[in-house]
């Protein structure tokens, strides 16, 4: 594939393309590959070191599962240009994107934009969750893939969702001593998820394979983390099944509660968002002309759903009619049902709303404790009164947490996204009425 290694040096340089795909996970890779194969000049912009996103994060291609390797190779052959370690910090609905790579800034002008920005983990605050050694489940997986040495570490994997099993299995295979694997959903709800998996047998086989990797560790359903304790780091965790509690020595606690669509860019572009998901039609078109969305931003469905939606978006972005590919349209409706089943099976129990104590930090950037937040506020009021959500993460962690705890809808998204360095942004904001920076170049 063509790697765009150097960003243009001038802040006013503009890269032109027919299709810009933002996010290089399965949805973005599929969209970029199909668009480029269809003859569209395509640019894939991704924050990672290699395309792959979180689910296909890798250091060596040899570590990748077959489907991932196949798609990354296909992307490479497709003619799409790829910009890695690059983040979109601002965008306007006419297809102008502001991109930052390290300290360099540049602009991209695209005919069509595909939003494939993936998802983030839902963190629900509990006492001790700010101690070093406590992280998310996906966070633990990312660290492991990044080279974290877990040999001999006493690990607990807890929370909710289908990521628990593969991450616990990976931890065990890498030498961690699992002290507990906990799913908050009840066994009854999970059984219904198992039934829905029968329509997707490859997923069921995955589950059995993962489970065999830590067969001697109890996998408890209907159980969750109450708190983590320790002096300057996690040393033990307290767990409960709602009737009794128990404690385990632990120095690596992976705890999160499923995924939340990352809709920041879609929101910035003015796309209609409903129940935290970007609203799209059968062709992955958002409410804004020439802006498409695919994968997790449109609803959590996993990598295979993302591949299907990404392909449809790529074809549509390149001006093709996806109805000609029956497998894609059939696949899309099947994955939509799967996505609905996921949400029902792993619905979060009410007890999790009461884990945070008065002194438990909710906003980790600004160290705002639970006691300073009034549930009757809006997210905007919390910002104004306490700075909740105003730190570097811009609510990426506490926004979803406050939505779960207090029902606060997300506040309006403002540029720049992702807290870039000032030098890369200075003097390069996208002008909205006085002409674009690119137009003043000549």
């Amino acid at each position: 594939m063509t790697l765009v290694e150097k960003a243009p040096s001038s802040a006013t340089d503009v890269v032109e393309c027919d299709v810009a795909v933002v996010g290089g996970g399965p949805a973005g890779i599929a969209a970029a590959a199909r668009a480029a194969e269809s003859g569209a000049g395509t640019l894939l912009i991704d924050q990672g070191v290699h395309p792959g996103g979180q689910v296909w994060r890798h250091r060596n291609e040899a570590d990748l599962p077959h489907v991932a390797r196949r798609w990354i190779e296909r992307l490479g052959r497709s003619g799409a240009r790829v910009m890695t370690q690059s983040a979109v910090t601002d965008a306007t609905p006419d297809g102008l994107l502001r991109v930052v790579r390290g300290r360099a800034g540049m602009s991209v002008r695209a005919g069509t934009v595909v939003i494939a920005t993936g998802a983030r983990e839902l963190f629900i605050p509990y006492p001790g969750w700010t101690l070093p050694g406590a992280m998310g489940i996906g966070g633990g997986q990312a660290m492991l893939k990044g080279g974290l040495d877990v040999r001999g570490r006493r690990a607990v994997v807890a929370g909710s969702g289908p990521l628990i099993l593969p991450v616990a299995a990976a931890m065990a295979r890498s030498g961690a001593l699992l002290q507990g694997v906990l799913e908050q959903a009840s066994v009854g709800r999970l059984a219904s998820f198992g039934t829905s998996l029968l329509r997707h047998p490859s997923k069921l086989i995955d589950g059995a394979r993962y489970r065999s990797a830590f067969a001697c560790t109890a996998y408890r359903t209907g159980s969750w983390i109450v708190r983590a304790e320790g002096d300057g780091r996690v040393e033990r965790v307290v767990m409960t099944d709602g009737k009794r509690s128990w404690s385990r020595e632990c120095d690596l606690l992976c705890c999160s509660y499923g995924l939340v669509p990352n809709v920041d860019l879609a929101s910035l572009l003015g796309c209609v968002i409903d129940d935290g998901r970007v609203v799209v039609d059968d062709w992955q078109r958002t409410s804004v002309a020439r802006i498409l969305a695919a994968g997790e931003p449109t609803g959590i469905g996993g990598e295979l759903a993302a591949l299907t939606e990404g392909q449809i978006a790529g074809l549509v972005a390149a001006g093709r009619n996806p109805a000609g590919e029956a497998a894609l349209t059939r696949g899309r409706s099947s994955w939509l049902r799967f996505s609905g089943q996921l949400a029902t099976s792993f619905a979060l129990r009410d007890e999790l709303r009461h884990l945070a104590q008065a002194d438990t930090i909710v906003c980790r950037c600004e160290d705002v404790p639970r006691s300073r937040l009034d549930p009757s506020w809006t997210a905007r009021q919390a910002k104004l009164y306490t700075r909740t959500g105003m730190g570097p993460c811009q609510g990426a962690v506490c926004g979803a947490a406050c939505h779960f705890l207090f029902g606060w809808p997300a506040d309006r998204v403002r540029p720049p996204l992702g807290a870039p360095e000032v030098a890369a942004v200075a003097g390069s904001a996208i002008a909205t009425d006085a002409g674009h920076p690119s137009e003043s170049r000549a």
Partner: protein
């Protein structure tokens, strides 16, 4: 040190890590507990591993507030963390 390894400096200590190791993982392996210090003085370490939470910020080659979960280790990189009194 082999071709498959790089040497970085963490809080003044020389550390050899496999090439391709993500800095956040290398720091955790080196025993760094506090990557950064929070606004009220608490030790913090990464929770998301993917660039969202900003808890893994350290100083890399003199540039503060770099998200170590997004940075691959490179030979000669000099890193300062809160554990070393740096970030």
């Amino acid at each position: 040190m082999t071709n498959a390894e790089v040497e970085i400096v963490v809080d003044g200590r020389r550390v050899v890590v496999p090439a391709g190791t993500i800095l956040a993982a290398a720091l955790a392996n080196e025993g760094v507990q506090a990557f950064r210090t929070s606004v009220t003085g608490q030790p913090r370490a990464p929770i998301c591993g993917m660039g969202s939470c900003f808890e893994c910020r350290v100083t890399v080659d003199g540039r503060p507030h770099q998200r170590s979960c997004l940075v691959p280790c490179e030979h000669g990189m000099v890193v300062d963390t809160a554990s070393g009194g740096g970030a």
